[in-house]
């Protein structure tokens, strides 16, 4: 690692303006700026309130099923020649890490007196988690979802409907996650008086990236304790897939100042050397979209280009600003995995461990050979299994040319 001589405190970000180095900020239309400031103040107050934290902890335990296990994957370890652990976020209620953030934000929305919740979703996991907490607390819920994603994640659309949410398909642009986020922002601008925008990833304007990180860092904090208990020491490497980057930053953050290697895996679609991928860091450059300065897929002029990934949850042309910062600081390394590599990893985990991973999480699994080679036979690697793969069965079947 090219760590600075006097190590930085990588956990000290963002600053008061919401900046992680040169990334982040709050690039929002004026109508929303007062709301963004209100949210920041309300979040600061909630964070300082022990009652808030206690209520959240209770829900995380009793409702979401935390802590999630840290599972020693024996056969994967044999295959790749290192001690491989899986952080089982797919066992949470609703089947992914998204519930951690939704529980935190819904409590905040209620503290702020908001009665209507909107969210964007790609894979539908965040939409399902949002619809779930809205049902639990009796709040109105509208989910924006790209029309392409509505098609490839049908089971999740129906789940949201069962939970009482209205799913609005978005046909603009590439009809995927970016367009769903555009439409959610348009809704928010229009309904500022009663609406809370529950962003699903560590992206968007300040304070969302830091707030979502704080609600997801429970993942890394548990891994830390669980790994110390099982192995008597910290892992040598942690690995997670990166869409907007919430499951990844949740795992990474508690290890930022430790001697632990950090790997994010971006979706390379049909390859980063093609124009059909979703690798913002590996195939993009800095710019401003959806309220923050970060790495983006864009053309020479700055028009945002369409992302592509087999995984709806990673099919986004940007990445959370903290990841852009960790990349430029050299603290985390961002690798890529193609659609085909993710598919192969999906099947491998099913066959070796009896677990169907989300196609998003499969991207992280796909880089295990390289990461394991780096840490060696006695090295400990923790992979975030951010979600379960039931929702992806139809997509995988289609790619394998099977009828179901």
């Amino acid at each position: 690692m090219n760590a600075p001589a006097k190590p930085n405190d990588y956990t000290a970000y963002p600053d008061a303006a919401g900046r992680f180095g040169r990334f982040g900020g709050r690039y929002m239309p004026e109508t929303l700026m007062p709301l963004v400031h209100d949210l920041e103040a309300a979040y600061a107050a909630a964070k300082a309130d022990e009652g808030f934290q206690a209520q959240l902890d209770g829900l995380l335990r009793q409702y979401a099923g935390r802590p999630s296990p840290l599972y020693f994957a024996e056969r994967l370890s044999e295959r790749f020649g290192a001690r491989v652990y899986l952080k089982r976020e797919e066992l949470n209620h609703t089947g992914s890490h998204k519930i951690n953030n939704c529980l935190g934000q819904i409590l905040l929305a209620m503290r702020m007196g908001k009665t209507r919740i909107i969210a964007e979703t790609g894979a539908g996991q965040h939409g399902v988690a949002t619809a779930t907490v809205c049902a639990r607390f009796g709040l109105q819920c509208v989910i924006y979802m790209g029309a392409v994603d509505v098609e490839r994640q049908k089971p999740n659309v129906f789940r949201m409907n069962l939970l009482g949410a209205e799913v609005r398909p978005v046909h603009a642009g590439s009809a995927t996650l970016k367009d769903a986020m555009n439409e959610a922002l348009r809704d928010w601008v229009t309904n500022v008086h009663d609406t809370y925008y529950l962003i699903g990833s560590a992206a968007g304007p300040h304070p969302y990236p830091v707030m979502v990180r704080d609600f997801q860092k429970v993942i890394g904090e548990e891994v830390r304790e669980q790994c110390l208990a099982a192995e008597g020491r910290l892992p040598d490497a942690v690995v997670a897939c990166v869409g907007g980057g919430s499951n990844a930053i949740g795992l990474f953050y508690p290890f930022l100042n430790d001697d632990v290697r950090i790997f994010g895996v971006e979706a390379a679609g049909e390859g980063v050397d093609t124009n059909r991928h979703a690798a913002a860091i590996n195939g993009g450059r800095p710019g401003v979209l959806h309220g923050n300065m970060t790495y983006l897929l864009q053309d020479a002029e700055g028009q945002i280009t369409e992302a592509h990934s087999i995984s709806a949850g990673l099919d986004y042309p940007g990445i959370g600003p903290e990841h852009a910062f960790l990349h430029e600081a050299g603290r985390a390394k961002y690798l890529t995995a193609t659609d085909d590599e993710a598919l192969a990893a999906f099947q491998l985990l099913a066959e070796l461990e009896g677990i169907l991973p989300a196609i998003e999480s499969s991207h992280a699994l796909a880089r295990l050979p390289e990461v394991c080679a780096e840490v060696g036979k006695d090295g400990i690697v923790v992979v975030n299994l951010s979600g379960r793969g039931d929702k992806d069965v139809a997509t995988v079947a289609a790619h394998l040319g099977r009828q179901i």
């Binding site: 690039y27 239309p29 109508t31 700026m33 400031h37 970016k178 555009n182 002029e301 700055g302 945002i304």
Partner: protein, 276 residues
């Protein structure tokens, strides 16, 4: 010129005792050549100032009409360079009508703030409105535009309360754009009784003219706003004429300009007989 051109125009209108009609069109919509024709025709159709949208792939503050206009312009190959060429061409034939660019930050970040400001000044552009660049993030852009003599025009909205207003007007120049409805462009209607006190409040805080836009689609609305503000901005209703013209296979230029004429007349005569 630049910033002074905006000041001169508002001063002249004030002397005439009337409000300005500001026409918004999307540069390159439906194609660069037609768009050039439209922009050139706007002053004769009564536009006192022109707002020229520059198309962006992800316009989060726009409703469907302007979203579609941006898509048409991009599909027809419009670029920021193309917008500057269009502006320069317009400026060769018109030295008095202020030309304001309106759009989103990423294209400007991509070009670089100083390079953008210089190119805009050279093209005869007088001011810039950047929808997703609030005062909190505006310093680097404001510095670059200052150096080039261009105005940075800020937006105030119904959510901009008295506490926040000083932040918004701090580095504002040219005029303040009051977004009269909480919403995207071209959907909700402005209600002048709710707008009037806000206009007065912003005039007092900024010492600048206040233009009102986002909710004005008809001559009646335009006249009502013209009675209480320094300028009435119409965008979506003009852009809709492009879409209609294309759909009905009629001259887009004629449709947009005749709509602009109707609206500008409404603004021009709004205060006749009314106490100013």
């Amino acid at each position: 010129m630049s910033r002074e051109r905006i000041e001169a125009r508002f001063a002249a209108l004030k002397a005439e005792g009337r409000s300005a009609f500001v026409a918004y069109v999307m540069a390159g919509d439906p194609d660069p050549a037609t768009s050039r024709e439209i922009v050139k025709g706007l002053p004769a159709a009564g536009a006192d100032l022109i707002e020229l949208g520059f198309p962006f792939s992800d316009p989060v503050a726009e409703g469907p009409p302007i979203q579609k206009a941006a898509q048409r312009a991009l599909a027809a190959g419009m670029t920021l360079r193309g917008v500057f060429e269009l502006a320069a061409d317009f400026r060769r034939g018109d030295q008095d009508t202020p030309l304001i660019l309106m759009g989103y930050l990423n294209l400007i970040v991509s070009m670089g703030f100083s390079a953008f400001a210089r190119a805009a000044a050279e093209a005869g552009i007088d001011g810039v409105i950047v929808v997703d660049c609030p005062p909190e993030e505006a310093d680097p852009l404001a510095d670059a535009l200052d150096a080039a003599g261009l105005a940075l025009i800020f937006l105030a909205t119904p959510t901009t309360d008295d506490k926040r207003l000083p932040v918004v007007v701090n580095r504002a120049s040219g005029f303040i754009y009051y977004v009269s409805v909480a919403g995207v462009t071209g959907v909700k209607e402005a209600d002048e009784s709710a707008v009037a006190p806000n206009v007065a409040r912003i005039q007092a805080a900024s010492g600048l003219p206040v233009a009102v836009g986002f909710g004005i689609r008809t001559p009646e609305r335009a006249a009502a706003i013209a009675r209480i503000a320094d300028a009435a901005v119409v965008g979506s209703a003009l852009v809709d004429e492009v879409a209609e013209g294309l759909a009905m296979n009629e001259s887009v230029t004629t449709r947009v300009l005749s709509k602009a004429e109707t609206l500008s007349k409404a603004v021009r005569f709004a205060r006749v007989g009314a106490a100013v």
